[in-house]
């Protein structure tokens, strides 16, 4: 008994050191992240009165957010755009991650990764604006294609619509998609691939049966890390989306800053997060078999 309590004291002291160290950061996150998130969830159940919020519980905001034609369209569009961006980004990113992991000399890998990450860190606004320039009426794509004589008049379906949003977001989140896949590929023991071929599989079948399943945790991480933030992107739809490219973040901004309807804005925000969470969990559930197994 006496020994047990001594041990408890020791453990408490180890845990205490941990808590003490983590407490400034944790407190900050609780006060400025958890509490605000809780507050908007709370707000989403309140009623918007003139100049102030009425403190009565209601589901009206959610009813409005889910039944109003405009809101529903924007919400579904956001989900669609986010999924398309995720698909495009991850599919385009995989070969790059594969190339860097399997075909680049180990001493040059970090140079490649550095090159891939740099654009991610350079002024997001200006990058988005430049896509407008690239895709615009007199933009790089149109003048290039016209100069080559491939088209006679500028293409208009590439700006101020959903396509432009997808292209721009796919560009913005590329490093986010590449790095988790790269890390997963790096972890694969190369002798497994040799074993696969030794056991009579072709290169391609080895890739399908060995490499791809082992890389899946990275692919799943990529999907989530792209999918979750893109649904809430504001700048890209605002700048290149045009009226038919608006997404949920633009709607939230409108409710908060222009219409001053915090409860409805909150309900839309919470709904968007809810959709993201459900889709992500569904995705994880469908891929659960790749995530089991020994943790390394």
């Amino acid at each position: 008994m006496e020994l047990g309590s001594r041990w408890d004291r020791f453990r408490r002291s180890e845990a205490a050191s941990g808590y003490m160290l983590v407490s400034p950061t944790a407190l900050y996150a609780i006060l400025l992240l958890a509490a605000p998130l809780g507050t908007i969830i709370l707000y989403s159940f309140l009623t918007d009165g003139y100049l102030e919020i009425v403190r009565t519980f209601t589901l009206a905001n959610y009813h409005e957010a889910w039944t109003n034609e405009l809101y529903r369209t924007v919400m579904l569009r956001s989900l669609g755009v986010s999924m398309a961006v995720t698909l495009v980004t991850v599919v385009l990113a995989f070969p790059v991650a594969y190339f860097v992991s399997f075909h680049v000399d180990p001493s040059r890998k970090s140079l490649w990764l550095f090159l891939i990450t740099i654009p991610f860190w350079t002024s997001y606004l200006i990058r988005v604006f430049l896509w407008k320039v690239i895709l615009g009426f007199n933009g790089v794509v149109n003048s290039g294609l016209m100069g080559l004589g491939i088209i006679d008049e500028p293409l208009t379906f590439i700006l101020y619509n959903v396509n432009a949003v997808v292209i721009t977001l796919a560009h913005a989140y590329a490093p986010f998609a590449i790095l988790p896949i790269f890390v997963a590929l790096e972890k694969i023991d190369r002798s497994l691939l040799e074993a696969g071929q030794d056991l009579g599989e072709s290169r391609f079948m080895t890739f399908l049966r060995v490499t791809l399943p082992l890389a899946m945790p990275g692919v799943i991480a990529s999907v989530l890390i792209v999918f979750i933030p893109t649904i809430g992107d504001y700048v890209t739809p605002q700048l290149v989306g045009g009226p038919e490219g608006r997404m949920v973040a633009n709607l939230i901004q409108l409710q908060y800053l222009k219409l001053d309807n915090y409860p409805l804005g909150s309900a839309i925000a919470v709904s968007a997060m809810g959709i993201v969470t459900v889709v992500s969990l569904l995705f994880l559930f469908l891929n659960r078999r790749y995530l089991k197994g020994p943790k390394s």
Binding site: T25, A29, P36, V96, T122, F129, G139, V235, I252
Partner: protein, 268 residues
């Protein structure tokens, strides 16, 4: 050369990634108000024009104050959390760290509106300070990611050795731990500085009447005649970010080399 097809694809991909950055200086030095091809001629007047805009100067000043404060605060909070999570075990560690790292995936607009609601509810006036609060929140996860790897590669017996040789916990931290994670700290400062300087939405929601650099840039997009100046400004910003990132990468690698750890990749 290995991986022929893949190499060509990867290079095309890099071109796709760099396309906007390559085009940017073309328009910054282009002698035309309209941002479109064909280019008309070389000029540096857009750079000169930047100095004549007092609003820009104020925005730069605000952004610098915010970025410096946010990066110092976020790195400080990051040091605490990274040290706690790599060195100690405590109940609910996963949950606590998960909450702290949440802004990494949370759309910034959610962070922005939720903070806005609470701050206004508390009667706090929106200012540079409120932007700093928001930026610390989104920078901290990045600093933790960088600093954790710095603390992780620290062999625990180094601390014990210093302690064994007569040092106290405090002097061990000063003589051994701090110098060894210093590259991580510098790289974390630079990264948070870059993130904060570039952050738009939180500043847009929380700055009140104050204007930060991205908010200024965003507002100028509405005026076509102002865009060439923004291109010039963007060129400088991009150049600066690349410089800062290169320095950050240098320190990160030096940190790894010092502690003899294997390089496992980039910042993320």
């Amino acid at each position: 050369m290995k991986g022929g097809g893949f190499r060509i694809y990867a290079i095309c991909y890099l071109i796709f990634l760099y396309a906007p950055i390559i085009i940017l200086p073309l328009f910054a030095f282009n002698d035309a108000t309209v941002i479109a091809f064909p280019l008309s001629g070389f000029t540096t007047k857009w750079f000169a024009e930047m100095t004549t805009q007092p609003a820009l100067g104020q925005a730069v000043k605000n952004s610098l104050i915010i970025a410096v404060s946010a990066s110092v605060l976020a790195t400080t909070l990051g040091v605490f959390a990274a040290r706690a999570s790599t060195r100690y075990d405590f109940p609910f560690k996963g949950g606590i760290m998960g909450l702290i790292m949440l802004p990494l995936v949370l759309p910034e607009i959610i962070v922005a509106v939720s903070l806005l609601v609470v701050l206004l509810g508390l009667g706090v006036n929106l200012s540079i300070l409120t932007v700093i609060l928001g930026h610390v929140l989104i920078c901290t996860p990045f600093t933790i990611a960088i600093l954790s790897s710095a603390f992780q590669s620290l062999d625990r017996s180094l601390e014990e050795a210093a302690y064994d040789l007569g040092e106290t916990a405090v002097s061990t931290f000063r003589l051994i731990i701090l110098p060894l994670v210093m590259p991580g700290i510098i790289s974390s400062l630079l990264i948070s500085f870059t993130i904060s300087l570039d952050e738009f939405i939180i500043a847009f929601f929380l700055a009140g009447t104050e204007v930060t650099l991205p908010v200024y840039i965003f507002s100028q997009f509405r005026f076509p005649q102002a865009v060439p100046v923004i291109m010039a400004l963007g060129t400088i910003l991009v150049g600066m970010s690349i410089l800062l990132l290169t320095i950050a990468e240098y320190f990160r690698r030096r940190g790894l080399a010092r502690s003899g750890a294997k390089d496992t990749g980039g910042f993320l």
